[in-house]
């Protein structure tokens, strides 16, 4: 069985089928992209994996563990982190607090330790702070450490969104259109980060993205969704020559 295994997942809202009989195998250490026209079910797929939606039918397994009905906070503690398409940051907190809060969910010391702040608590706290700083360095967010997230530009907020997910030290990172609404320079920046996340941090990336150029360049594996169904999968080369995919994107002549 694959690392993250989506088998026969169907998601319906009343009569509307957002996903139907989707199978996906996501392999460790690779960048897997999910592409498709608007409304194809890409974000629904991410929602199912991250526990925001639960499939009507079918199962999702991660490292042999079933997470079909897990809630979002359980999924994130299992090592699957997510960055949202529409920013879901804590805009009233600073960049540092946004990241520390994510890190804090993994605190393993007792309330008494916390109150008196000795031994384990201060050591864990220092480790956490160190980890968060390493993520800030990695995402090049140093100048914004103390800024309120709500006051930052859209491009920087998108980076904070990715950074917050990284702070959870995930095995798998789900990125939902991290480049949407960005200019060319910012896009190139994010592409570089995504590649570094995979190579330097050894994190498996699942990317939902509209920019086909980017997807073809960096993906190891691509799934194409259309009207909730997988219409093609494989390496970028295979996808580029798949007639069904070309039809969905360009239309019949």
């Amino acid at each position: 069985m694959a690392y993250l295994n989506v088998s026969d997942v169907t998601l319906s809202f009343g009569g509307l089928k957002a996903l139907s009989h989707v199978d996906m195998k996501i392999e460790p250490g690779l960048i897997t992209s999910i592409i498709g026209p608007n409304g194809a079910g890409k974000t629904s797929m991410l929602n199912c994996i991250s526990g925001f939606y639960h499939p009507t039918q079918g199962d999702i397994h991660y490292k042999e563990k079933k997470l079909t009905h897990a809630s979002p906070h359980q999924v994130s503690s299992m090592g699957i982190a997510r960055a949202f398409q529409n920013l879901e940051l804590f805009s009233g907190l600073s960049v540092l607090d946004n990241l520390l809060l994510a890190r804090h969910q993994n605190l393993k010391y007792s309330f008494l330790h916390a109150v008196f702040f000795f031994g384990k608590a201060s050591r864990v706290e220092a480790e956490n702070r160190g980890y968060v700083e390493s993520v800030i360095d990695f995402m090049e967010l140093e100048p914004y450490r103390k800024s309120l997230v709500g006051n930052l530009s859209y491009g920087v907020q998108k980076k904070v969104e990715v950074a917050r997910a990284l702070t959870l030290a995930p095995d798998i990172l789900l990125l939902d259109e991290p480049m949407a609404g960005m200019n060319q320079e910012e896009k190139e920046d994010i592409v570089r980060f995504v590649m570094d996340i995979q190579k330097e941090r050894n994190i498996t990336v699942v990317l939902v993205e509209h920019d086909l150029g980017v997807v073809m360049d960096i993906s190891d594996q691509i799934y194409v969704l259309d009207f909730g169904e997988v219409i093609g999968s494989g390496t970028p080369e295979e996808i580029a020559s798949n007639p069904k995919v070309i039809e969905a994107y360009i239309g019949e002549d």
Binding site: S76, F84, G92, L101, A102, A114
Partner: protein, 297 residues
């Protein structure tokens, strides 16, 4: 002049209790966007539990005060768990209707007991004389009430600023999806918000009961007067609840002290909060400290 300062003092006393009573409403609204119309009943229940433990069971009053806060903490948490948890994701208006229903049920239960109709008062445990300073006097009960109120509000503010659970609660009120994605259990935070609201309501109930006596109607009315307070302060701001509580207390006392009896007016202190409520809603709907959300489109 001492008449003026006397009114300031009683305004601050009443106002700080409003602040404490309003705190519970803000906590629940801040995390789950639900206006709790059963808040007055929880305030009353907290006071009656303390009375029961002190007088009927015979526990020293300070311990029964603490016990009552702990009991309402768990009571409010179970109310959330049993009735409101399954409504997560339903329209807010349904949840609000449920709180109104819960309020009526608690009303009914309290009317079944002697507390529903008779007046009680806590046994006296403080010196009966008043502290007097330059013609302005404050009773020991009032002074103790204000001190406990400020300690509690200070404690809550510290909790929300510094503790992990407190910051998680703020994160949930800021962005629920974001909070879930970093591993915060949103239902657990809702439960804690209700629990904290129950605890602060019980404390408010006891302090009011100790100053004015235990009367169901009076205690219950605090659940309504807190609405003008939180609207003035901003529904989701703890600081707003404190400032607006004190402003409202001062307004009421000044109205009672200067307007009533003149110009043929009476009972102005009871009406003014609601007039202010209307004015605030017309001109500054987010209150003094509430967050005005601006959506970028």
């Amino acid at each position: 002049m001492s008449y003026f300062f006397q009114i300031v003092v009683s305004g601050v006393v009443v106002g700080s209790i409003y602040a404490l009573a309003a705190l519970g409403l803000v906590l629940v609204y801040k995390s789950s966007r639900v206006a709790n119309f059963a808040h007055g009943q929880i305030i009353a229940a907290g006071a009656f539990i303390t009375y029961f433990l002190t007088v009927t069971v015979g526990i020293p009053i300070f311990f029964s005060f603490l016990a009552s806060m702990i009991i309402t903490f768990f009571l409010a948490m179970s109310v959330e768990r049993i009735f409101l948890r399954r409504l997560i994701g339903e329209p807010i208006i349904s949840v609000i209707m449920v709180t109104i229903g819960l309020g009526s049920i608690i009303d009914g239960l309290i009317y079944l007991t002697p507390f529903g109709s008779e007046n009680f008062s806590f046994p006296e445990f403080l010196p009966q004389n008043s502290l007097s300073l330059g013609g302005v006097s404050i009773s020991w009960t009032q002074l103790l009430g204000v001190i406990i109120t400020f300690l509690l509000i200070g404690g809550f503010s510290w909790f929300f600023k510094k503790s992990t659970v407190g910051i998680s609660m703020r994160a949930v009120s800021d962005d629920q999806f974001g909070a879930m994605s970093v591993g915060i259990s949103v239902p657990r935070v809702f439960g804690l918000a209700w629990a904290a609201a129950g605890l602060s309501a019980a404390a408010a109930g006891c302090i009011i009961g100790n100053i004015t006596g235990l009367n169901f109607e009076t205690l219950h009315a605090f659940g309504i007067i807190v609405f003008p307070v939180v609207i003035l302060g901003g529904l989701d701001s703890i600081l707003g609840a404190v400032v607006a509580g004190i402003i409202m207390g001062l307004i009421q006392q000044f109205a009672g002290g200067y307007l009533d009896g003149n110009f043929g007016l009476s009972g102005t202190g009871n009406v003014l909060p609601y007039i202010i409520l209307l004015i605030i809603l017309l001109f500054k709907p987010h209150g003094l400290f509430g967050i005005h959300e601006i959506e970028r489109v």
